[in-house]
């Protein structure tokens, strides 16, 4: 049984911040099949296309029939914890700092044996439920959970290393004027965030939902215009050391592509507000977050981008907007690599058109802003990296995997 974690006390400004260490990162290329699945919260194993044998660790040939047709498929998650051990003196610095650390050997019902990190409520000789998680190195590891829910189970120390749970963390939501931003604030507070800083450009201008926002306990409105480098830097100078999770809810949606627009001013705005805004935020807040990756219960944990799923495939109706989203997506991969030494996750939340004013002309299905917010909180709690929200996003994801050229033609027709 897990003791609930206590709210961290205010940090002594004179004490040294521990530098984040990373668990071992090296993996074979085949093993990144698990990384891919863990990023989306799926549990997969390799299964032989010829003889249907499941195997683990990742192989390049089936150990039963030598076929090369090994496919990562969604696999049953149930297994049995055969044997466990508590590591008191691990060789690796990351684990040494976190010892004692429990690991075990799990026999999956479908066959393979997995060495796994153990949730504290897992018992030897009892069934467990498995997942693949991204650890602080960003790579996939197997994690065993008790089969049934147990009290305070998300407060488990080893589990929290795999997640970016908002509980007791301080969050910056970059745009409080938008409905999405306001929903995200509400959801994060409900998930236990201790403070939510909410960026609002030109805060003397009133906006819809302002009163509700200001009335929320633990919500602090701060001046922030992400298109303005100085505004971002000023805010970072003020609160940069206490932002554990950053959710970029800034949005700048304009309809239109290339040929029916005159000049570049709209395009330039899109780039300024979206891409350069992201750059400003990353440069101002990223370095401190990377330094604070193992700063206790409220360590820096995650950076969340809300991206249009048309970042993955251009939709000419919103063609220039799609391109600005694609630029941000590309930049997010750079940020992910650069935040990795700190163990800070970069979560990309892909949505279809939102049910907001700027997508007025788009027919349903559209994504409710609240659904974006709950998806973000869920992703943080589960430690995901790539999240697809709503039917359109899922549709694009599948069509992209099936035939990118077909998707391009169909979006462009």
């Amino acid at each position: 049984m897990i003791e609930p974690i206590a709210k961290p006390r205010r940090k002594n400004p004179l004490s040294r911040t521990r530098l984040p260490m990373s668990p071992p990162r090296a993996r074979s290329r085949a093993s990144h099949g698990f990384t891919r699945a863990a990023a989306e919260g799926r549990f997969v194993l390799q299964c032989c296309g010829a003889c249907s044998t499941f195997c683990y660790p990742a192989r390049d040939a089936c150990p039963s029939c030598l076929s090369a047709d090994l496919v990562f498929v969604d696999a049953p998650r149930r297994g049995m914890l055969l044997s466990e051990t508590t590591l008191h003196v691990p060789a690796d610095v990351y684990f040494r700092e976190r010892a004692p650390w429990r690991v075990g050997l799990v026999a999956m019902d479908c066959g393979p044996k997995l060495v796994a990190h153990l949730h504290a409520d897992c018992e030897e000789g009892r069934p467990v439920t498995m997942s693949f998680q991204l650890d602080k190195s960003g790579q996939a590891v197997a994690f065993a959970h008790p089969e049934r829910e147990t009290p305070n189970m998300t407060d488990d120390r080893q589990w929290r290393e795999m997640t970016a749970d908002p509980k007791f963390r301080r969050v910056l939501v970059t745009n409080g004027r938008s409905i999405v931003g306001q929903e995200v604030v509400t959801a994060l507070k409900a998930a236990g965030a201790s403070i939510v800083f909410v960026g609002v450009a030109e805060p003397w201008k009133p906006f819809r939902g302002e009163e509700t926002l200001r009335a929320l306990e633990g919500v602090q409105i701060v001046p922030l215009d992400i298109g303005d480098e100085k505004s971002v830097a000023d805010l970072a100078a003020d609160i940069g050391g206490k932002v554990d999770i950053l959710v970029n809810t800034s949005e700048h949606v304009r309809v239109g592509g290339l040929l029916d627009r005159q000049g570049t001013s709209v395009v330039r705005d899109e780039i300024d507000q979206t891409y350069l805004g992201f750059v400003h935020l990353a440069q101002a807040f990223g370095p401190a977050m990377r330094m604070r990756g193992s700063d206790g219960v409220n360590s820096a944990a995650a950076w969340v981008n809300i991206l249009s799923v048309y970042a993955l495939a251009n939709w000419p109706v919103f063609g220039a907007y799609s391109a600005s989203q694609a630029a941000s997506l590309s930049l997010s991969h750079c940020l992910r690599a650069e935040l990795r030494p700190g163990g800070v996750k970069v979560v990309n939340v892909f949505t279809g058109p939102l049910d907001t004013e700027w997508f007025q002309t788009v027919p349903p299905p559209k994504v409710a802003p609240r659904m974006v917010a709950t998806s973000i909180v869920s992703a943080l709690k589960r430690g995901l990296e790539d999240v697809f929200v709503g039917d359109v996003a899922e549709d694009i994801r599948q069509r992209l995997a099936a035939n990118p050229k077909a998707l391009e033609r169909e979006l462009g027709s």
Partner: protein
């Protein structure tokens, strides 16, 4: 007892047991340690490096060098060459291969060497780069070397067969007593069962004195024809039988036996002896639980009777079941792949009457075994050999 259809190792012998005394940490390279072992081999045999026409080497820390690079490093011109990366099973494999090469006339004198250095940071490098499965599916879980893997195996074994920590302790304590008689052993102070029990936990149920100490060192021997040994006037040990097996019993959920169990009848049949006939046993002891498993798998008792077997025997040099007479890796140190050779080289000394302070009285026949390569969840490689002195 079944009959063996394998060709006996007639007229092939092992000679010149060599140990380059271990040190905890060394600033020298693996090549340096292997070089010292080769020098001791030629000096001990009264030959020159040019007389060596076969070379077999094992090392974890030789970096980019395999046997071929080392031939040039050491000025060896050989017509038979092998690099054996089998960890704790390397020595058994080396003597098997070398003996057949000599028997077939492919080589006349084979130098079998294992040497490793231990820099302050090289052990971790070995751990990180051990194997692909280890890299993908074990090392990212904080497993400090093999400790976690053996902890899982030991805990399962204890629960299944009723072994107690005290039983493992008895093995470790007896080996320490043996080691105190071995001037090369790194462990120089006595170990009591109380100290064993009170040691700090490393990975439950593995505690400090269940673990070997990584160190630098080298071990070696020569394999040659009986006639060559006679002409050089070298005391020579006979090879009565060997076995080797890899990736056995893969369907056992947790490892409770090694590959020996698959071939043990063959081992004794080929040697023409029974387990009772052996005067001493040198098991591969990276952890006491593995030695206990070998007591079962090598035919001294049945599966599950290991704990009782240990309780009923005195495992010291002068005891009822002399075991790991040098002190074993647990008390001498684990010099990388040299750990595989430790028991084999000590067994040679025992049957040749050259063991000095660790000599088992009237030892004529003994067994040495090897075990290695925790690739993922279990040790994959196993082997054993029965050696005899010149009188047999």
């Amino acid at each position: 007892m079944q009959n063996s259809i394998r060709t006996p190792y007639d007229r092939v012998v092992m000679a010149v047991p060599v140990t380059i005394p271990y040190v905890r940490y060394s600033i020298e390279s693996a090549q340096w340690w292997i070089g010292r072992a080769l020098k001791s081999l030629v000096d001990g045999a009264g030959i020159t490096p040019r007389d060596i026409d076969g070379f077999c080497v094992s090392s974890f820390t030789a970096g980019l060098d395999s046997g071929i690079s080392l031939t040039q490093h050491f000025g060896l011109c050989v017509r038979w060459l092998d690099t054996i990366p089998l960890g704790g099973a390397s020595a058994i494999a080396a003597l098997r291969r070398a003996a057949r090469a000599v028997q077939a006339g492919d080589a006349r004198i084979v130098a079998c060497v294992a040497g490793d250095t231990n820099h302050v940071d090289s052990f971790r490098f070995t751990l990180e780069n051990f194997s692909r499965f280890n890299q993908d599916a074990v090392y990212p879980y904080g497993a400090g070397g093999a400790n976690a893997s053996f902890a899982l195996i030991a805990r399962n074994y204890m629960r299944k067969f009723g072994a107690q920590r005290e039983d493992f302790g008895k093995i470790a304590v007896a080996q320490r007593a043996n080691a105190l008689r071995n001037p090369h052993a790194l462990m120089k102070t006595p170990l009591t069962i109380e100290q064993y029990m009170a040691a700090r936990p490393i990975a439950d149920p593995i505690h400090l004195f269940d673990c070997v100490m990584p160190c630098a060192g080298a071990e070696a021997f020569l394999v040659m024809g009986e006639d060559v040994a006679a002409s050089l006037k070298l005391p020579a040990a006979k090879i009565l039988a060997t076995i080797e097996r890899h990736n056995a019993f893969g369907d056992d959920p947790v490892q409770v036996r090694g590959g020996w169990a698959m071939d043990v009848d063959e081992l004794y049949a080929m040697a023409g002896v029974k387990p009772d006939d052996l005067d001493f046993v040198e098991t591969y002891d990276d952890y006491p639980v593995i030695s206990m498993m070998q007591f079962e798998d090598l035919g001294f008792c049945r599966k599950g009777e290991g704990p009782d077997f240990v309780r009923q025997h005195d495992l010291t040099i002068d005891g009822t079941f002399p075991h790991n007479t040098s002190g074993g890796q647990l008390s001498v140190g684990q010099a990388g792949a040299g750990g595989a050779y430790l028991g084999v080289v000590e067994a040679m000394r025992q049957v040749l009457g050259l063991a000095g302070p660790t000599q088992v009285k009237d030892a004529r026949i003994g067994l040495a075994s090897g075990f290695g390569m925790i690739n993922y969840d279990r040790g994959l490689a196993s082997g054993a050999a029965i050696l005899a002195g010149p009188g047999i």
